[in-house]
């Protein structure tokens, strides 16, 4: 990690994705962090605990014996009324599953960086999105990041989104395991006091620890009330759509960096486009530029916000295309395509004229994805646009036959 001079409240730096997230956590300075190390998230916990040990943050760091306990301790701290964070990856997220739902169901504004990694078995430590796709219906807001810069920016914004009184939902901030987490890149980081000012102080409306106003968290909630509480959660997600955009605007004023539900890259006049999350979107941009130089009208849509799922906005961004390929770095095993594909395809249903859509499952267990693979997808898309036929609804890109 290296940090250089100051330019108007920001500093140029070179950091790995994990270092960027740990650095962001240092600036957020949560009251409580309870975390357990797991590859490839380990550096976040390691780095943050050294900030604690060196006295650079005034955070209570709880060393727990598992991810189940990490999330439980974080839930306890957030219920008590303080700003609480944890971080995990893959099987760690799977192990905290039960409590992940308790965090959202109890409306606790926890922020959790997740470094995307394949789920066992067989054992694999490398990147795919099966871990967080599994929790996409857990009631957490999900932000996906292409680079160390985006992981840092999303983390800072996540605090505001989670704690917004209209939202009060936990947020996961994703980055790709090893590719982003262990890759060093340039980024701009904010001055500490600007981060502090942007996130403000957290004031819990109903903290558990007040003698004069006792509050019960996590009561038995049966047929007569549970449904209403779930309906409220949906409303929180609905509000999150506006809050996410508002906070992105505020963040843009501070940093000059633009965020929304998704990033459209040379999409407006495109005939065909790829939809893909996270670091692969960066690789796809290179291919888009190359093909554009050859005069081919190709574009990219990189989702950032998958929960909530702003379906109309997604459909609106894609409706003018002849053919769309959704690239999923995880499987649903439905035999009907990956998670992003299924959801986007459903979002297009109301359109009178829809683009033809096809799905590519790629990069499972960290299988590298090359620019030539992505070029091949664009070639397929032009063929689909020309013939009007989708030969294969679901394709497997980069798997050996």
């Amino acid at each position: 990690m290296a940090i250089a001079d100051n330019l108007r409240g920001q500093k140029r730096a070179a950091m790995t994705g994990n270092e960027a997230v740990a650095y962001g956590m240092k600036q957020i300075e949560p009251d409580v962090v309870a975390a357990y190390p797991i590859t490839p998230q380990t550096d976040i916990v390691e780095k943050f605990s050294s900030y604690v040990a060196d006295g650079e943050v005034d955070t209570e760091f709880v060393t727990v014996e598992s991810e189940h306990s990490a999330m439980s301790a974080t839930v306890g701290a957030a219920a008590a009324g303080v700003r609480a964070m944890t971080a995990t990856s893959s099987n760690g997220l799977a192990f905290m599953w039960e409590v992940v739902y308790i965090a959202s169901g109890s409306r606790l504004p926890i922020v959790m960086p997740v470094v995307n990694r394949a789920l066992s078995g067989p054992i694999n430590i490398h990147c795919d999105h099966s871990d967080t796709m599994g929790t996409r219906d857990s009631g957490w807001i999900q932000l996906y990041s292409e680079s160390a810069q985006e992981a840092y920016d999303n983390l800072i914004q996540a605090v505001r989104i989670a704690e917004h009184p209209d939202v009060r939902l936990p947020v996961m901030v994703m980055q790709d395991g090893f590719i982003t987490s262990h890759g060093m890149e340039n980024l701009n980081v904010l001055e500490d006091d600007l981060v502090k000012k942007f996130i403000g102080t957290f004031k819990s409306e109903n903290p558990l620890l007040q003698v004069n106003k006792p509050t019960t968290f996590g009561p038995l909630d049966l047929q007569d009330f549970y449904f209403e509480h779930k309906r409220q959660q949906v409303e929180g997600m609905e509000h999150a759509k506006k809050v996410i955009v508002d906070i992105a605007k505020e963040y843009e004023e501070l940093t000059g960096r633009q965020y929304s539900y998704f990033e459209s890259y040379r999409l407006d006049d495109a005939e065909v486009a790829i939809v893909v999350l996270s670091s692969t979107a960066g690789t796809t941009k290179v291919v888009v530029d190359e093909l554009r130089e050859q005069g081919l009208k190709v574009g990219l849509l990189k989702p950032r916000v998958l929960r909530p799922f702003p379906a109309e906005e997604y459909a609106d961004a894609l409706k003018h295309l002849k053919a769309v390929a959704v690239m999923d770095r995880s499987e649903t095993f439905s035999t009907n395509g990956g998670p992003v594909f299924s959801e986007l395809r459903s979002a297009m249903f109301e359109l009178e004229e829809r683009p033809l859509m096809t799905n590519y499952i790629f990069g499972l267990g960290g299988r590298d994805i090359w620019t030539k693979d992505i070029k091949g997808v664009y070639e397929d898309l032009f063929e689909i646009a020309k013939t009007g036929q989708v030969k294969n609804k679901v394709n497997y890109l980069g798997v050996r036959d």
Binding site: A2, A4, M184, N186, T283, K285, V286, D289, T371
Partner: protein, 193 residues
């Protein structure tokens, strides 16, 4: 298209191939370049052959796949020369820098490198490291050779950045800082083609 210099480091687990890639990325980033530095995505074991990578450019870099056609290959350990992957993807105009006491001609035969358009350089980085740092850590001297061969950064500027990086990493071991800087400087001068 943005012109990107792509570098592949070959070493054995523990020799500092990953550290070299990260240090180079940090130094180049602070000097104003766009960078990437990343290890091979694989299990890291002491002694096992490992690779790490750099991308350096004057424009933002968004590609996130591994490096398949490096402009520069740096070999930290001469015992790796018999491995075919050392010259994988090398095309005319590329360069390979080898830590070895042997001559360029001898190494060219060893690598079976017939393409004369691939430049070959040698430097005895292990000897330099032992004499300056006191241990066989060939990664920093090889960075000096890399700067000489590629001119990614002006030498003076690179040394300024390296000094800063080393000072922030080895605050409590000033002798390590001086040894490393001396190693870089010597390798910069002694690299042969």
């Amino acid at each position: 298209m943005a012109r990107i210099t792509e570098i592949r480091w070959h070493g054995r687990g523990g020799q500092g191939a990953k550290t070299a890639a990260l240090l180079l990325a940090e130094a180049a980033a602070i000097a104003g370049k766009y960078v990437q530095g990343f290890p091979e995505y694989g299990p890291e074991r002491m002694g096992a052959p490992v690779t790490s990578f750099n991308r350096i450019s004057d424009q933002p870099i968004s590609v996130h796949s591994s490096v398949s056609k490096p402009n520069i290959v740096v070999v930290l350990d001469p015992t790796l020369l018999s491995r075919p992957d050392v010259v994988d993807g090398l095309e005319a105009g590329a360069a390979i820098i080898v830590n070895s006491e042997q001559s360029v001609e001898e190494i060219r035969v060893k690598l079976n490198l017939e393409n004369e358009d691939i430049r070959l350089y040698t430097v005895d980085a292990s000897k330099i490291a032992k004499e300056t740092i006191g241990r066989n850590i060939p990664n920093t001297p090889l960075m000096g050779a890399l700067i000489r061969v590629t001119e990614i950064l002006p030498y003076e500027e690179f040394m300024t950045q390296m000094k800063e990086q080393l000072e922030s990493k080895f605050r409590h071991k000033p002798e390590v800082i001086e040894g490393n800087l001396a190693a870089i400087e010597r390798a910069y001068r002694e690299v042969l083609d």
